[in-house]
């Protein structure tokens, strides 16, 4: 399953970073605390959050996440969009809550198991 599959199966809106739609999705992670994401999310995972500022892209880029889904129609600012486009990291938007987005992902077979913690 790749990011484009996630987009079509959950009916998400691609806000930016369309270059990365062919990235493979290996699992998922949900949190609004950046340090928790840094510690818990693994490369290739989908990250569901309510945060929408440029550091979201930095975190996703550093971890090599597949994409970011921003829930509840929260819109990223221009700086975030520009950075995501530059890095080719898709930012997807959903009108649903984080809970519902995660449920949808699980329904598509995206696993929440975090394979590797920092150590």
């Amino acid at each position: 399953m790749n990011v484009a599959d996630v987009v079509s199966s959950l009916g998400l809106e691609v806000l930016c970073g369309a270059d990365g739609l062919d990235r493979e999705v290996t699992g998922g992670y949900a949190s609004d605390l950046l340090s928790c994401v840094m510690a818990g999310a693994a490369a290739g995972q989908v990250w569901v959050t309510l945060q929408a500022h440029p550091n979201v892209v930095a975190v996703a880029d550093l971890l090599g996440l597949a994409c970011v889904i921003i829930a509840e129609n929260v819109r990223p600012d221009e700086a975030t969009v520009a950075r995501a486009n530059e890095r080719g990291i898709p930012i997807l938007s959903s009108a649903e809550t984080t809970f519902t987005v995660v449920a949808g992902l699980v329904g598509q077979g995206v696993s929440g198991a975090s394979p590797k913690h920092a150590r």
Partner: protein, 321 residues
């Protein structure tokens, strides 16, 4: 040709759109002369349609420019040949059947221009001419695709070379101890550029050939350190020392300093104000994350002067790092 109805505009699938982006850049960079076929097979006006049939068949092509004494005078395609054969005009001269008002493309046009011509005229090929109108090549859609693929491969290859060169720096340069020092400034409260130093560190180490697991440890710790400088200090620097057997990352700032270093190291302890917590920072996990990612770390701070965080990541032989 030419009568074909244009297909109704279809929404491009997402995937196709994503893959096209780099190619779209390239069609504006590459010139027709970089991808065209230079050895052009031509015919002359005094050859017969039967001669043309042999030329097309032997070369497996579907059209040729017609050249008379070095000057291009027309184009002829397999369509005209079929029509002539149907009407039993195999012995007619090419000069009678060729198209004199042909569409050509300039050698110094961009591929984008050529792609537009293909879309507009639906011809299978265009003769390529120089500024003086001389025939210098021929361009098919296949030439364009091959040219783009070649260019994409070259781009990929040059990144490979950069990576190779960087990863051999420690072998190529002889000294008692080779250390590569990378320095990045981090501004206070600059949330827009937050994480950029860490991204650059990651990319640099990637080029030096670091293993993904190792990269992750350095990236996470460096990001947390960068974020701490951004949120809590008046600004500072990230200094990376790359050695053959270890990477040392030092994060220094110019104050205000940490009052109780022991307390700061406790997981969950944070002094971040509410507005920063709302951005998802300040969970009190930064230093705990750094500790779990580093092989050794040392935090020293002097109130009013600044804080220095030293992080060491060992490149152990045999661990695949």
């Amino acid at each position: 040709m030419g009568e074909t109805q244009e297909a109704p505009v279809r929404k491009q699938p997402l995937i196709e759109r994503a893959e096209l982006t780099k190619v779209q850049e390239l069609v504006y960079e590459l010139r027709v002369e970089q991808v065209m076929t230079r050895d052009v097979i031509t015919c002359t006006p005094d050859q017969t349609m039967s001669d043309l049939k042999e030329v097309l068949r032997l070369n497996r092509i579907s059209g040729v420019p017609i050249v008379d004494q070095g000057q291009m005078v027309g184009m002829i395609s397999v369509e005209s040949l079929i029509k002539a054969l149907e009407q039993g005009e195999a012995d007619h001269l090419i000069g009678e059947k060729m198209t004199r008002r042909y569409q050509s493309v300039r050698a110094d046009d961009t591929l984008a221009g050529a792609v537009a011509l293909f879309a507009r005229f639906k011809y299978g090929r265009f003769p390529v001419v120089d500024a003086d109108g001389n025939l210098v090549g021929i361009l098919t859609q296949g030439d364009i695709v091959r040219g783009l693929l070649r260019q994409l491969e070259t781009l990929w290859h040059s990144e490979e070379i950069r990576r190779y060169r960087a990863s051999h720096i420690f072998e190529d340069i002889e000294s008692e101890q080779t250390t590569l020092i990378l320095r990045y400034h981090v501004k206070a409260q600059d949330f827009v550029h937050g994480g950029e130093a860490s991204s650059k560190v990651k990319r640099a180490l990637e080029r030096l050939g670091a293993h993904p697991q190792f990269l992750r440890r350095v990236s996470v710790a460096t990001y947390e350190a960068e974020t701490n400088i951004m949120i809590h200090s008046h600004g500072g620097e990230i200094i990376v020392e790359a050695q053959p057997n270890a990477i040392k990352v030092v994060a220094v700032d110019t104050g205000p300093g940490i009052e109780d270093v022991e307390q700061a190291l406790l997981a969950g302890y944070s002094t971040a104000p509410d507005w920063i917590r709302e951005l998802g920072f300040g969970a009190g996990m930064g230093l705990a994350n750094i500790r779990s990612c580093t092989d050794r770390m040392q935090l020293t701070s002097v109130m009013g002067e600044g804080t220095r965080l030293e992080m060491v990541f060992d490149l152990t032989v045999g661990s695949g790092e």
